[in-house]
């Protein structure tokens, strides 16, 4: 019984620590709801720390290809993410057009994009540190680096 308790404690402790590590950078949240026939409903929560980690398993030539295709915009996104990280919570862009409402803002170190209309809701939340990491890795994977 004691052995079982020890094993449970060990497993529980491991799960708590692994969870804390996985969630240390926050979450990437993607919520898409299309209110029409056949519309998709996607709700995805991914620990942000997993993304740069997972990129290490992407074949080198695929990363190189992606970096090559995005080479013109990567420095811009990198600079943008780096500067956005310094900002407090702020509404950067807001657009209202009839029933549509789109917002682009920073919230607690996250970049948040919200689009709401009568027939769809799209909410995206990405930690800026993750965006910075991913772009940095892509830049390092580019040809000639």
């Amino acid at each position: 019984m004691v052995l079982l308790a020890k094993a449970a404690l060990g497993l529980g402790g491991t799960l708590v620590l692994a969870g804390a590590y996985a969630f240390r950078d926050g979450l990437i949240r993607v919520d898409v709801d299309e209110y029409r026939a056949g519309g998709s409903h996607v709700h995805m929560w991914v620990p942000a720390a997993m993304v740069p980690m997972a990129m290490h398993f992407v074949p080198k030539h695929d990363l190189c290809d992606a970096a090559q295709h995005a080479r013109e915009v990567l420095p811009t996104i990198h600079a943008f993410a780096k500067e956005l990280k310094k900002l407090p919570n702020v509404d950067l862009i807001e657009m209202i057009d009839g029933g549509k409402h789109a917002q682009f803002r920073t919230r607690s170190g996250n970049l948040q994009v919200d689009v709401d209309s009568a027939d769809e809701h799209v909410h995206l939340r990405v930690p800026l540190s993750t965006l910075d990491d991913v772009v940095g890795q892509l830049e390092e994977s580019g040809p000639g680096v």
Binding site: K6, A7, L9, G10, L11, G12, G13, T14, L17, A18, A20, Y21, F23, R24, D25, G26, L27, R29, W45, A48, E72, P75, T76, H78, A79, F80, K82, E83, L84, K85, K86, L87, P88, V90, D91, L92, I93, E94, M95, I96, D97, G98, R107, S108, G109, N110, R125, P127, L128, S129, T130
Partner: protein, 201 residues
């Protein structure tokens, strides 16, 4: 127990970054700013477009000048490189912008151009102001542009046939709260202004 201890050791040895807030993640204190950021962080460029055509179209943009200053040099597209825009001399119709600006800078204050009372270009204080009133059009529009002369100087500080946008933004950051552009007609109201607040009024 061993598993937990080994995991704890491994995790303790891995580099840990300050946690970002989101979902279940713990709260993070406000990010600290660099001295450069703090110096210029209070300057925000705001754009507000409000349409009164019934659909209630509204666009609000709040952008820290420092962000624009840092991001612009990273954009290399078409004529924009390193925060500078290349001007095609053939599009300038032989107008020497620098000579024109030098003439305005050294000239006395007052109105320079007046076209039938509808267009007025003037030097007022340290600003170049342009007022356009279109009374003939059905929309009855009114445009007012007020640009600090130091900003125009900075804009023209790059090499020949180039406009230095980053230098202009930097010069703009040194200005006080000011309204830069105001457009008003029967359907739209556009306002571009600079202040130290990170929200539009």
């Amino acid at each position: 127990m061993k598993t937990a201890l080994i995991s704890a050791m491994v995790l303790a040895l891995l580099p840990v970054r300050a946690p970002a807030q989101g979902g279940a993640a713990p709260a993070k204190p406000a990010p600290s700013r660099s001295s450069a950021a703090a110096e210029n962080a209070e300057r925000w460029l705001h754009v507000r477009v409000i349409s009164t055509d019934g659909r209630g179209e509204t666009v609000r943009v709040n952008l820290p000048l420092e962000l624009a200053e840092k991001v612009l040099p990273a954009v290399n597209h078409d004529r924009l490189h390193n925060g500078k825009v290349r001007i095609d001399p053939s599009e300038m119709n032989d107008v020497d912008l620098r000579a024109l600006m030098e003439a305005i800078r050294t000239a006395k204050e007052g109105q320079y151009v007046t076209v039938e009372g509808d267009v007025r270009v003037a030097k007022e204080g340290n600003h170049l102001t342009i007022h356009v009133r279109d009374k003939s059009a059905s929309k009855k529009s009114q445009v007012e542009v007020k640009v600090p002369i130091k900003v125009i100087d900075a804009l023209l500080s790059a090499g020949k046939d180039e406009l230095d946008l980053v230098a202009a933004l930097h010069a703009l950051g040194a200005q006080g709260d000011t309204e830069l552009v105001s457009v008003q007609d029967s359907e739209n109201t556009v306002k571009v202004w600079l202040d130290s607040k990170n929200v539009a009024d």
